[in-house]
Symmetry: C2
Subunit: 397 residues, 2 copies
Amino acid sequence: MKIVAIDPFYLRMPEITTAADGTQDTLLIRIRTDAGLEGWGECDASPLVSIAVYCCLMSHGNIINIRESLLDETLDKPADVLRLSEKVLRNALDIQHIQHAYSGAEIALWDLIGKKLEKPVYQILAEITETQSNPYPKLPYASVLFGDTPESTYQIAVKLREQGFRAAKFGWGPMGKHGEENDIALVRAAREGMGTEAQIMIDAGVVWGSDYETAYNRANAFAEFSPIWLEEPLAPDAISAYKALTDKNPRVPIAAGEGSSTYRMAEDIIVNGGVNFIQIDTGRIGGIMPSFQVRKLAEQHGIQYVNHTFKSHLSLAAALHVFATNPNFNLLEYPAANSELSQCIVKQPFQIDPDGLVRVKERPGLGVDVGTDAIRPFLAPVKIDVGSNTVFQQTSL
Amino acid sequence: MKIVAIDPFYLRMPEITTAADGTQDTLLIRIRTDAGLEGWGECDASPLVSIAVYCCLMSHGNIINIRESLLDETLDKPADVLRLSEKVLRNALDIQHIQHAYSGAEIALWDLIGKKLEKPVYQILAEITETQSNPYPKLPYASVLFGDTPESTYQIAVKLREQGFRAAKFGWGPMGKHGEENDIALVRAAREGMGTEAQIMIDAGVVWGSDYETAYNRANAFAEFSPIWLEEPLAPDAISAYKALTDKNPRVPIAAGEGSSTYRMAEDIIVNGGVNFIQIDTGRIGGIMPSFQVRKLAEQHGIQYVNHTFKSHLSLAAALHVFATNPNFNLLEYPAANSELSQCIVKQPFQIDPDGLVRVKERPGLGVDVGTDAIRPFLAPVKIDVGSNTVFQQTSL
């Protein structure tokens, strides 16, 4: 089949705040073929900046937009996705933003191939890499922001526990901003609210920059509350600081990697940063295949791969296919502070099964359908003119 | 003084081809203050994608555009530039494209500070880092594309030699695409055209991807023509392949780094890739200060820093300030295949002095003035609407 349309859709809530809540807007990519199939993907990125990568005028042979690279191309088999990804990335060699923008299209291409072959994406990945293809359930951890105070954090944790979550990650907000005592009180509140049986994770939201000494001290101070990990204590690029931190063997394992915009960034923080958990956002790193390659690298290094997902369940579906077949990678970031927008993007959100676990969808492609009627009210139509050219005009949902 | 306006200008030639010629379009950034001063900078990036980073609507606290971060801010001293850069980058933590876009603004901020303090930028950099402040002249190497054939490459080289160039770099085009024999013939033609006294460099334009064996064989095959370096034989991200290549000690030194969109990417290819020359584009890596930091790292590692410049002499001015004060870093990439557009951007292009060398401008700021009347015919006005918001409307030049 031939690719006949590549359409981005910028969706947003009417009110957007500075909270580190990634569900306030989103960019969906729809790709259609002449066989009447359509695939969807979601980017965790600035929607407008990413749209520009789909429509920018050519600057030279290394700055060519995604639409131009994909339109009229053949898409019949998994190898075509790999070939098209190579073409897109090569044509956009000098566009820094290419991975953030392309992620949605790459995911949509896998969705399309799955629909054409009538197989779930995880199964196709297993086949082309000749690895085992049984999917395993994951333990979802609710991913939420800290409350502004320990008390409000406690209330959030209690509510999550009442909702049945056996694991939860608390992040950003006041963490690291009001001194050690408050930081410890926040973690204590999370633990007490969730109870002693639950798994908790702490996300420091890059707050200590390159100050690995403070990160080390906090990790040790948090150890009495037994968090599974301390996440992003340092800036994404502070690889030497990560190395200094992990070399000191803090009493809580270190997680990082959501800022990986390329496979190399993930490889760098694993190999040279020494992290214990690698967290990859399929909607940032360029899609499903580079995420899968990081998963393989994590397996080689004996560390744990975890998804980073702070968008809708469309992103969650893509994320799950990447590591569904590895039983040891058993934790799933599960966005639990969802906006109204993010809750209506797919028609089949991932439910937590009675055993408390989440399973990949046994349906073709990603296994979820986009609720176009539900999301239409959130569409922010985009129009871009450059000189006398209208380079982007909104297509209808 | 206060920043009162941050204005991007997208300039382009009427016809743009797929040739790897970066001078076919450009993005200039003009920043104005309430003291009546203005500073300019140039990005080596996709203009439209970068403009989107100046005006995109907020997605959350980690996706805030550059204009919003800079507008109404105080700019009085060098420390303000560093503070503002930190703010811009932190506010745009989740925008992959932030460095490509911000480079032009960062350069403009240095231009402004130099004008305010009535000092050239290189001198301010020396003062704030307490390093020596004598500038040294550089040997310009003409940076051109290979001809389509060895014969046309020879003609290009002869012409450069007649123009007085004592050094020239030949790159991209057919290199690596038609087998070893043709590759060698291309290099031979460059050497014969330039003569035995000249310095020549070879730029393979990332053509061998991660195939370090071929890169190694080519480097050795080219050695008889004594090029100063073999540049970018491999993909920018192929750090392990660079390591494998440099560990084999090819007979021609290896240069790379122009694809560094962050300081860490440059650090990575130096520390983990083992390159002999690090090539940094001030218009991509986030501006003058991160480039300067790479220069310092190169000094620590005993390798050579070289600018990457394939835009106008506005970019060349910014590039020169970064390493003017290091006498050992004596080579200067000097764009010599300039479009009509790129030739008219500054009023004081860098001349090659009678001794064959190029010197940094001893004037405040970058030391060059933008020829607004000359470039106005090339302006492609941009308008961007998102929903009911016009987020970008062209200001006049």
